[in-house]
């Protein structure tokens, strides 16, 4: 009996080593908020990431014909304890080789510092935009295909300055996103010589914003920057400001850009402007054409596809699925020099890497990783005209 057990163990041991030497069954975690406040966005983000995984798996070119499968786990977007448990399961029980995610900044930070970092696991987030993640201790394991809000602060400053506006009031929704963006913007705007008269928070889900609007109006400013959500407090603040005549023009960052806002408020909003992540690169259009069963033009869907693609291309470049080995290759495959790779061309990228060549993954969101491994960020500048969103240009 003892002998039998021993021989089985040896056989199993031999079996695993034999497999990992050549073709593998690779698992990738898709760690997004399947439930919670952004579940409607994740409905398009998760399939986009899985599309990239399926594309690579079908090509049979990754690491001598390894297959790749996606394992989903739920970040819940808001519950750090649930997210930590979910990524723990992905790493220790499902034994994934890389994680696409998380999505919201708070849970991503928790998952990274509590689980991914001690386990040496690579995470590439498609949508966490908090500036705090740029400086978090990550041992080179954390990347994001979404830009930091610090970058959005700079872009917003440029847009406002180009319109010759030097004095603004700022209100933000009282959470990581709002506070991070408001602080980043204030720093950038003051560095550029502008003045922020007041930076006041507002709570979402309240119906009465008279006190907030009163304080903002008293501080004054040519325009009001509203770093909130378009169907929450942000809308209430804008409506209150228009009703009392406190402000006529508003600056709308990504959380405030959507068709429902001009629809709800009407032509009073004309002349307000803002920016939202977006690119006019050919990759975005290509992914929309390729997409089956999901909407690739939905926010952060393109970034999700790119996050998954980057992990697998980096594995190919390093010739290993060990996060410690391939984490150093992520920046190499994402940036120049090399052949440009668009969505749907992952097989071509894998071939070039296998032959020892260089690639510059452009992908659907025009990926260019800077700093500590985050997207340089491309923004679409918008303006409200005739109670509808219109695109001014790209930055």
């Amino acid at each position: 009996m003892k002998k039998l057990l021993l021989s089985t163990a040896v056989a199993v041991g031999l079996g695993t080593t034999a497999v990992s030497a050549s073709a593998e069954e690779i698992k990738l975690g898709v760690f997004l908020g399947l439930t919670g406040p952004i579940e409607s966005l994740v409905a398009n983000m998760a399939p986009a990431a899985e599309a990239a995984i399926a594309e690579v798996s079908a090509s049979g070119l990754l690491l001598d014909g390894s297959t790749v499968t996606a394992v989903r786990a739920d970040t819940t977007c808001i519950d750090a304890a649930a997210a930590t448990a979910a990524i723990e399961r992905l790493i220790t029980s499902d034994k994934v080789a890389g994680v696409v995610g998380g999505d919201c900044s708070g849970v991503t930070t928790a998952a990274l510092t509590n689980v991914a970092l001690p386990n040496g696991m690579v995470m590439i987030s498609p949508s966490a935009t908090s500036p705090a993640l740029s400086t978090v201790e990550d041992n080179g394991l954390f990347f994001r295909t979404a830009p930091s809000d610090a970058r959005q602060g700079v872009v917003m400053t440029d847009i406002i300055m180009d319109r010759d506006i030097k004095e603004v009031a700022v209100t933000y929704t009282n959470n990581d996103y709002g506070k991070g963006l408001a602080d980043a913007f204030q720093t950038a705007f003051e560095a550029a010589g502008g003045t922020v008269t007041i930076s006041a928070s507002h709570e979402d889900g309240k119906a009465d914003y008279a006190a907030e609007v009163g304080a903002l109006a008293a501080a004054g400013g040519e325009v009001l920057v509203v770093a909130g959500y378009l169907d929450q407090g942000g809308k209430g603040i804008i409506q209150g400001s228009l009703d009392t005549g406190a402000f006529d023009t508003f600056v709308l960052p990504d959380g405030m850009v959507g068709d429902s806002l001009p629809e709800a408020i009407g032509s009073d909003l004309d002349g307000s402007f803002g920016q939202v992540p977006g690119t006019d690169s050919p990759g975005a259009g290509k992914l929309v054409e390729m997409a089956e069963g999901y909407d690739a033009s939905s926010p952060f869907a393109a970034e999700s596809y790119d996050a998954a693609a980057l992990i697998m291309l980096a594995m190919q470049a390093a010739g290993s699925t060990d996060p410690e080995m391939y984490k150093g290759k992520v920046m190499d495959v994402a940036n120049a020099p090399g052949e440009q790779i668009l969505p749907g061309e992952l097989a071509k990228g894998l071939e070039i890497l296998a032959a020892g060549g260089d690639i510059d993954y452009v992908g659907a969101s025009n990926v260019e990783l800077i700093g500590a491994g985050e997207s340089a960020g491309n923004y679409r500048e918008i303006e409200i005209k005739d109670a509808a969103l219109s695109t001014v240009g790209y930055r």
């Binding site: 009465d208 009163g214 501080a219």
Partner: protein, 336 residues
């Protein structure tokens, strides 16, 4: 001129919104205080009763709008209001029949009623979400403004404008009518007098031949009417979302307690105290001071006592102070 500008500024950002908000809180607090005075318990379901009544009003408003019925410059919701009140009254009478009557027969402690009302609150909460959904609903129509800030500036030549919304005007007018009618009812009619007698001394009232079921039913109907009116006015002025009505419970209870639970006059005063303090303490007086003092004394800071983040803390500090100094509220309510 400078003084007029300063007054216009304060009216626009402090007085007008605070009076409207205060009227809405006062109507809500009246309902709470009435139930407390006569049925002797704190009705935690009041916020969601408001949401229920408003929901019915909204559904009727949409129906009227689809048939092309409207009130011209006034919102159609006013026409739908009686239907909202009727359905809301039926709803609270049903909840009294199913829940509270059982405890009344057993002469249960007020705290048991209170917990039962929390249960009713969650059920109502669920029913409202089930029927109309958890999202924002828009049902305001008609004219939006009585006077716009820009027109006011043109008319008076001042550099500060005052804007008054139709919904704010309606709120104040309705509040005055409703409160007058309520006081007339409580003080002059037979039913009102029997309600007050029942509130003062239940046993004595029963001995003198007052029908308790009738008193209870009338109280619930009035409370439902007040809740529906307050909820609809609030929804017209701001926006309708079930969750905000649930949250309104806190300022409403604060208003009722500050004024003295069980005292209708106190509920009205409490509503205005809470509304004014929330807005006045967090207002930034920089511009106001700039108008009032000579040019070179103009302040650099915002002159804001507290940041608006602490808006809700303000009402609770006032609540605490009142409870410490006058435990029965400003107007001496019946207490707990």
């Amino acid at each position: 001129m400078e003084i007029l500008n300063a007054l216009a500024l304060l009216s626009n950002y402090v007085f007008v919104p605070a009076i409207a908000y205060g009227s809405q809180l006062a109507l809500g607090a009246l309902g709470v205080t009435l139930v407390f005075g006569i049925l002797r318990f704190s009705n935690f379901a009041h916020g969601d009763t408001m949401a229920f009544g408003t929901m019915v009003t909204i559904l009727f408003t949409w129906w009227f709008q689809s048939m092309g019925i409207n009130l011209g410059p006034l919102p159609t919701a006013l026409l739908a209001l009686p239907f909202g009140i009727a359905f809301c009254a039926l709803f609270v009478l049903a909840s009294d029949r199913l829940v509270y009557r059982f405890y009344r027969a057993k002469r249960a402690d007020p705290v048991i009623y209170l917990i039962a009302s929390v249960g009713v609150m969650f059920v109502t909460n669920g029913i409202v979400r089930f029927i109309i959904g958890p999202d924002d609903q828009n049902f305001a129509d008609g004219e939006r403004f009585i006077i716009k800030a820009r027109e006011f500036k043109k008319m008076t030549g001042l550099s500060e404008g005052i804007s008054i919304k139709v919904s704010q005007g309606i709120t104040v007018v309705t509040m005055i009518i409703v409160v007058t009618a309520l006081f007339w009812f409580l003080n002059k009619t037979r039913s009102g007098k029997s309600m007050r007698a029942y509130s003062d001394n239940e046993d004595l009232a029963l001995l003198s031949g007052i029908n308790p079921d009738r008193v209870v039913a009338i109280t619930w109907i009035i409370a439902a009417a007040l809740a529906t009116i307050a909820g609809t006015l609030y929804g017209l002025d701001k926006s309708y979302k079930p969750f905000t009505y649930f949250q309104l419970l806190l300022p409403i209870f604060a208003s009722a307690i500050v004024g003295g639970l069980g005292n209708p006059l106190g509920a009205i005063a409490g509503g205005f105290v809470i509304a004014f303090s929330e807005i006045m303490v967090t207002y930034a007086y920089k511009k106001f001071a700039a108008y009032m003092v000579p040019g070179d004394w103009k302040p650099d800071g915002l002159m804001q006592l507290l940041s608006t983040d602490y808006k809700f803390a303000v009402s609770f500090i006032i609540l605490l102070l009142v409870l410490l100094v006058r435990p029965n509220g400003i107007f001496r309510g019946t207490g707990t």
